[in-house]
């Protein structure tokens, strides 16, 4: 019975995030969904370049991936029902993402209260030892 619930929830989160126009235009895809934890990734694309000298993609694109991934993690929390919205999100850009490499994000909803979901996320490229960026934010719950 519990497994059916989890599968249903996974499907709901997958369906919700598959149709977001901005996520589609950035080429985002879901890698995995677990209870309160989601993996998402996005391909490198020259149209996303933010610094023409280094060909590194714009921080805004990384922010969008982390925001989407965090929202999905909040929604996939076992006690959360329905959609969510970002209250605030902070991203630390720890190093430039290596051009031409896919960017992977993993977000964890580590606490869920009646009104707020607290989420953290990390963005990586092929060098998984050193994160590209890290995010921390609060999301609306129980909408």
């Amino acid at each position: 019975m519990k497994n059916i619930m989890i599968e249903k929830k996974k499907k709901a989160v997958e369906d919700f995030f598959a149709v977001l126009p901005h996520s589609i235009s950035l080429g985002m895809g879901i890698d995995f969904i677990r209870d309160g934890e989601v993996g998402m990734s996005m391909p490198y694309d020259s149209k996303l370049i933010g610094d023409p000298q280094t060909k590194v993609i714009h921080g805004g694109a990384v922010f969008a991936l982390l925001d989407t991934c965090c929202g999905a993690a909040a929604m996939s929390h076992p006690e959360q029902t329905g959609p969510t919205a970002t209250i605030d999100l902070r991203v630390d850009y720890m190093r430039p993402a290596t051009p031409s490499q896919r960017i992977k994000a993993v977000a964890t909803c580590y606490n869920l209260t009646k009104n707020v979901a607290f989420v953290r996320a990390v963005a990586l490229d092929n060098n998984e030892e050193k994160p590209v960026a890290m995010a921390a934010g609060a999301f609306v719950t129980g909408v």
Binding site: K47, I49, A64, D67
Partner: protein, 168 residues
Amino acid sequence: MKKLSPEPVALIKKRRNEALSQLIDSIPYISFLGVDFDRRGDEITAILPFKEELIGNPNLPALHGGSIAAFLEISAIIGLSWTQIWHQIEDPGLDADSSDNVRKFTLPKTIDFSVDYLRSGLPRDSYARAKVNRAGRRYASVHVEAWQDNRDRLFAQGTGHFLMPLNK
């Protein structure tokens, strides 16, 4: 003694607009989102014309948090860079090769960026203005405000810290 006549206004505008376009046109992500800029003197307003690809939740519909954040971050970076190149544009001594100076200008790097989503972004045009609260030799702190219909009703605000490039 003959007084120098002031520079024709058309020439000043052309020079400033060209410098701003060069800065903006060099960044592909700005055209990907469709961000435009309006300049009045040294004040610039970023404009994000509405388009379908900016939507996050299609059921509401509302702008995606990621497109809002990117819009704010772009406004902050351009706003900060603009204050840095302003003296180059205005210094007549650099006039001959000022376009070259702008082209070689290295962009500030974002250290961190924090976004406050105050209300949901409606499917219409958005505007943003950045204020450089501190620009030191190495670090800068920039605050950005974004609104849609009313200047006083912000729908998002952001604060970011930037690493200043070592230009010259």
